[in-house]
């Protein structure tokens, strides 16, 4: 019995880490975020496809690797660590769950090969903002989705107002879309407007919707785990280097204690993410509640670390120069998407019968 990552998972994390460190360092992330490298996130995705990343969760029969959600969480953590611009959560995690439920082997195979990417527009079925929402007649969609995940993909996984899941091609008739700028430039978001748009029904089973949502939440939490870890690493390294009053600032207790508080609050998040991801596959009776709490808790801890790490850097933390804000914004994005903490905690309460 072991509560922790397997040898293989540690190796997977290391190899993704090394790849991203070499191939997608901050300078490249910056280039993609500022639009200097056009289509950057698509080309990063192609490179990741060579590593087998899009195929992670896809069964071997469809050309995938057939790994678990915990493996995916390990990868998501690394993407957060490196603020990687790639349509990972939608394409490689959330969409395959719905496609497997529908038995759409062709699309699964295309994802595995890195030939297609999928964005996710289910936020309205979680909590509608701006009066957005989609209705369907089982074949066609009408309405609007805002702040979708992985905008700019080849197709979109869309939920209607009953939670039924559809797949829509990005060039489908009656679909108009536009990008929506957010603080986080590493993961494009946007808006989809449907006007009697043809769509493929994948599942109208509430359990499928929930499985997609839970997985998305756990992956966002894993992304925050990685991003926050990087912010701690940067703060500690900076505090050892930077000198004031003839001492490294890291020898000042105020600074040390900021770092200790960050580490102390993040450390329990690691096994929490592991367990939540493991539960998605293996412990269905605990999966929903753990996903909610993990999403909310990581959002709170992540926000604390994003602020504190920035403070440890002094004025430098506030500049574009060191780029710390990429992690800050990444954590902010993960917090807002698929349910802010208050919303997911209310869902956690409901799951336990505490809401009448």
């Amino acid at each position: 019995m072991e509560f922790g990552l397997s040898e293989e998972q540690t190796l997977l994390a290391d190899s993704v880490h090394r790849f991203l460190e070499e191939q997608v360092p901050l300078e490249r992330v910056r280039g993609i975020a500022t639009g200097e490298e056009t289509d950057g996130s698509q080309s990063v995705w192609q490179e990741l496809a060579d590593l087998g990343i899009p195929a992670l969760l896809i069964p071997e029969e469809q050309g995938g690797v057939g790994l678990s959600q915990l493996d995916a969480a390990v990868v998501a953590e690394m993407f957060g660590y490196h603020t990687t611009p790639a349509p990972f959560i939608g394409t490689a995690v959330m969409a395959p769950i719905a496609l497997k439920a529908a038995g759409d082997d062709t699309t699964l195979a295309a994802i595995a090969k890195g030939e297609t990417t999928v964005g996710v527009a289910i936020g309205e079925a979680v909590a509608s903002r701006l009066d957005a929402g989609v209705t369907s007649n089982g074949e066609r969609l009408t309405g609007k989705c805002v702040f979708i995940i992985n905008y700019g993909s080849d197709r979109y996984l869309v939920a209607d107002d009953t939670g039924a899941l559809f797949m829509v091609a990005s060039d489908a008739d009656g679909l108009t879309h536009r990008p929506l700028t957010t603080v986080d430039r590493t993961r494009p978001s946007g808006e989809l407007v449907f006007d009697d748009t043809p769509a493929q029904l994948l599942s109208s089973d509430a359990a499928t919707f929930e499985a997609v949502l839970d997985a998305g939440r756990v992956m966002l939490a894993a992304d925050t785990l990685g991003a926050a870890q990087n912010m701690i690493d940067q703060a500690v390294a900076y505090a050892k280097e930077r000198e004031q009053f003839n001492r490294p600032i890291g020898s000042f207790q105020a600074v040390k204690h900021m770092c200790a508080e960050m580490a102390a609050s993040l450390e329990p998040c690691r096994p929490m993410v592991w367990y939540a991801a493991h539960a998605l596959d293996e412990i269905p009776e605990e999966a929903r509640l753990t996903a909610c709490h993990t999403k909310a808790h990581l959002a709170e801890v992540g926000t604390f670390i994003a602020k504190t790490s920035t403070e440890v850097h002094g004025g430098m933390g506030f500049t574009d120069l060191v780029g710390l804000h990429y992690w800050f914004k990444r954590i902010g994005f993960n917090r807002q998407m698929l349910g802010v903490p208050e919303l997911v905690r209310e869902e956690a309460a409901r799951l336990q019968g505490l809401v009448v």
Binding site: V236, P268, Y275, L354
Partner: protein, 396 residues
């Protein structure tokens, strides 16, 4: 993650539930730790493997192999039933693990069984008026006189000294050695002539800790754990165990369940507290933190069993666990408004007044066993390898 949630565990859970169903009424509820009821319950739990589970049989334990999931199941079921999972205290949580690690065979035979059975109660003599956070500067001395140590000096904050049978005590035996290398770890009876105990009332208004004075206290030479001068290392092994036990996430789970129950019954303006969305959100927030700490605990345990490194995860448990518990107790007080103030003989007392007393008690634990600030020093300097404080030499 290799957490086989197999049928073995289903069966085990049923077994624990069955046990609780049958014996729940025998469980003590706030009785004196010396009472027959508490001691019988302790023995019953050991016999069934629900406490002292992994202590070897030859020393009076249950002798099971460590099993994270079974440990978790026991904790959960006892928490759900809100039944005591047996005795704690410094003898059980600190001394026993240390003796298992560093004690002689004779010491193990002599002390472990009566300690885990609750028959032998211990107190911890570390802190002195001049040596708190800077424990290594302690001055209580012991000099060897033939076959005996002669102990002189004063300890303070000695919890349960007034009821303890024995003390484990840090004393300076090598006055000329550097301060960390001149300390030894002695065990002696509290009824030895020359010991005087004066109670100190704490903020909960209980007199749980004491000033303890030693005047020519004679201790047999062999009642030392580790070698002469190695007491600091022995103490650090123990402090590790203490820190593991102080913010116990399973105890937090029990209290979380009690808080949820409270919110289902307590009302404000005729509305149940659980139906107030603000309060409910605060409950859920604490639940998330409790959950994270329980996973942390499982990870630490697993790492120990599998020889994996989880140093940082272990280092943070005292800090995070005690702060969490203090917040949890405080939440109950908050949401009860004026009723949250009730104390002692107040007729509107809830849950025996435990919310206020635990709220204060856990502030004590935030301070005791190495303050939160000291924990942060340890985490940053040893865990994150940040530069140490510049040393200040004592003047004069």
């Amino acid at each position: 993650m290799d957490l086989s949630h197999g049928s073995e565990y289903e069966a085990f859970r049923t077994e624990v539930q069955q046990f609780l169903h049958e014996h729940k009424d025998q469980a003590p509820r706030g009785e004196n730790m010396r009472s027959r009821k508490v001691l019988d319950w302790q023995r019953l739990l050991i016999d069934n493997g629900y406490t002292a589970r992994t202590i070897p049989r030859e020393y009076g334990g249950f002798g099971a192999d460590p099993d994270i999931l079974k440990g978790r199941i026991i904790a959960e079921e006892f928490a759900n039933a809100r039944v005591s999972q047996g005795l704690g205290g410094q003898g059980i949580s600190m001394l026993v693990p240390t003796l298992l690690e560093l004690g002689t065979e004779e010491q193990k035979q002599q002390f472990i069984k009566p300690t885990i059975e609750g028959e032998m109660v211990w107190c911890q003599g570390y802190s002195e008026p001049g040596a708190g956070s800077d424990l290594a500067s302690l001055r209580t001395s012991a000099t060897l006189d033939g076959d005996e140590w002669v102990v002189n000096g004063q300890k303070i904050w000695t919890s349960t000294a007034h009821i303890a049978d024995w003390i484990f005590c840090l004393v300076r035996t090598e006055p000329d050695a550097p301060k960390h290398r001149g300390i030894s770890f002695l065990l002696f009876r509290m009824d030895t002539p020359g010991i005087e105990i004066r109670p100190l009332v704490d903020m909960t208004l209980a007199a749980n800790f004491n000033e303890t004075f030693f005047t020519d206290v004679h201790v047999p030479k062999h009642q030392i754990v580790g070698e002469r001068g190695q007491g600091w290392q022995v103490a650090n092994a123990i402090l590790g165990h203490e820190r593991d036990s102080l913010g116990d996430p399973n105890a937090s789970l029990t209290r979380l369940n009690a808080l949820t129950e409270l919110m289902k019954h307590e009302t404000m303006g005729g509305q149940r507290l659980i139906d107030n969305p603000v309060y409910r959100d605060r409950l859920m927030k604490i639940q998330g933190r409790v959950m994270a700490m329980r996973f942390n605990d499982m990870r630490v345990l697993s790492a120990r069993l599998n020889n994996k490194n989880a140093t940082l995860a272990r280092m943070i448990t005292k800090l995070q666990g005690t702060e969490l518990r203090h917040d949890l107790e405080g939440l109950a007080i908050d949401i009860m408004g004026e009723v949250g103030l009730a104390y002692q003989d107040n007729p509107y007392l809830r849950d025996g007044g435990s919310w206020q007393s635990q709220y204060m008690y856990f502030l004590g634990l935030i301070i005791g066993g190495g303050t939160s600030q000291i924990q942060k020093n340890i985490i940053s300097e040893r865990g994150l390898e940040m530069p140490r404080e510049p040393k200040v030499e004592k003047q004069g």
